[in-house]
Symmetry: C2
Subunit: 332 residues, 2 copies
């Protein structure tokens, strides 16, 4: 890969960490094997090899290297993070009854829900084994707490996403759970395994948290404004699923009675008709909530960059800052 | 509870460990709470309070006390074991599309599959947090390995249970995964947390493993011969689901061409007609496989008792031996 200035920052970081990432890929392949149940590597390979950016494990590797780590447990922890992420995707697709992920049919469609549930459980257990091998109780504490936050956020979303009373604070809890908790755990454990001091660990946590929140807000915003080819998802998916996200939450807060009745019908009752998406987009524009959501994503990205700025000078730090810019580039 | 000789041994053990079990129940209630997602305690309570025997957590408490443990981490570990068990039940009911569990409607029926999948994930994470709190890396190793064995066994069952090539060795792998792995981890970690010597830890592991295998074989046997009220499940459930268990595996191994065609139709193709269950029962009797399965359950129970006999003399040890007898009493 030619690393000119047009190369995306996560690609530059990926090239910088190539040896570590190869070690992660080897460990993942080794640990997703199952002597007895060939269904496990089949399903896992489908997802793991689907061309995800490996952003989360890369954050762990980056944090560890940035803090001068010379051991090999960062490979375990990065693989742990990717396994937790993969397990979550498998279960999410069952819960959302999704048919597509990263432009390919989902595992629940190719095999069945049973395989997705149980292979997800297997990957959670494998993640757990990988982190136990580090023998570091603090990283175990961080990652077990992150797992609980992820699951709690997902359950919260089940009830909150269809409830017009859901406010911005609840939305933030949901996206911390579904996205930011794993980002912040990924960066934090990288620092902890490297024995970094508390200020650095804290900055790494804050960077991951703010990056994750920004990332999810952008994703939710693009669902109302992105281009299908660009995002790998169709515009209006969240709307059609009746899922409340930030642009709508802000519009509901400013809705008059008629608008509120509209949102209640399409989100709470999920009774949608032709033209509803266009009407919804009109309301989001009328109240300026797409622009406001965009500004919030930019603010979280700025927070991530400020946290990264507290880290020691390092090529990796600069790429982390660029990644925080890149996450919001699609909406800038 | 009057503890006369007619009291069941697990009830006597429960009475003996009453203080510890109360502490476990308090910890479970505390940890199944969720500040943000009330759906979590609702679903969990439905299962946890459904009147299970708490056999698995009791085994951890028993093993720890038998080995002279005076600390409090056995409460964490027993709660861990119960949370892993509860999470597994939630996911199993989704996978099996079950409508009843312990004589009550299942969570997937009362709420939905989504809640069962995600609340199960939450309980797995909570289990993980509880064990990390003990700070004992060896119990973390044992329980993470057990979790992987459980999930692997469940995935193996997905493909093996409908495949007539499944032999007794594969059956044993499946039931080790779905049942015995948690029993043996439960007893083993009780010994480990108490700092017991290797011979005792080994005997505790073997007791739990053999008890679990015996328990599952009895369960599978009763599905072809038990009484509905007694077992809480309908006779022939496994048959109707086309699930290969030991009595059928043994009958398939001795089937002539015509019998093999019958099994292929009802198990592999799941094309069942009126009278098929009766015909199947006739074949199991003809080849004597119910009796043979019964003898295997008894042999595993004897193995459990032999392992318990290696443990130091103690009231708890005697109750553990009685429990191994009780598990096979329903088929004796």
């Amino acid at each position: 890969m030619a690393l000119d200035s047009s190369t995306k920052p996560h690609e530059r970081l990926s090239a910088y960490l190539a040896d570590d990432l190869n070690a992660v890929n080897r460990l993942i392949t080794e640990r997703m094997a199952s002597e007895h149940a060939p269904r496990i590597p089949e399903v896992t390979r489908h997802l793991v090899e689907a061309g995800g950016k490996r952003l989360r494990p890369m954050l762990t590797l980056a944090a560890a290297r940035l803090c001068g780590y010379e051991g090999s447990y960062h490979i375990n922890l990065a693989s742990t993070v990717e396994f937790i992420h993969t397990a979550t995707l498998l279960h999410d697709d069952v819960v959302d009854e999704s048919a597509q992920r990263r432009g390919r049919p989902t595992a629940n469609l190719l095999w069945d829900n049973k395989s997705s549930v149980l292979v997800g459980d297997y990957l959670f257990s494998r993640a757990f084994q990988l982190m136990v091998e580090t023998g570091n109780l603090r990283v175990l504490d961080i990652l077990s707490n992150a797992s609980a936050t992820i699951a709690e956020g997902e359950v919260l979303q089940l009830t909150a996403a269809q409830d017009l009373r859901t406010d911005e604070a609840i939305y933030l809890q949901v996206i911390r759970g579904k996205t930011a908790a794993l980002f912040s755990a990924a960066t934090e454990v990288g620092g902890v395994i490297a024995g970094a001091d508390e200020a650095r660990v804290r900055a790494l946590f804050t960077y991951g948290d703010a990056l994750g929140v920004s990332f999810q807000i952008v994703d939710d915003l693009l669902d109302y404004g992105g281009v299908s080819e660009q995002t790998g998802k169709n515009v209006g998916d969240d709307f059609r699923e009746g899922k409340l996200t930030l642009p709508v939450i802000k519009a509901v807060a400013r809705a008059d009675d008629e608008e509120r009745a509209f949102w209640a019908r399409v989100i709470e009752k999920r009774k949608q008709e032709d033209g509803d998406l266009e009407h919804a987009l009109g309301l989001l524009r009328k109240h300026g909530t797409l622009e406001e959501t965009r500004r919030e994503a930019l603010a979280w990205s700025a927070k991530a960059k400020a946290a990264a700025a507290e880290l020691p000078e390092h090529e990796i730090r600069d790429m982390m800052i660029d990644i925080a810019d890149y996450v919001v580039e699609r909406i800038s």
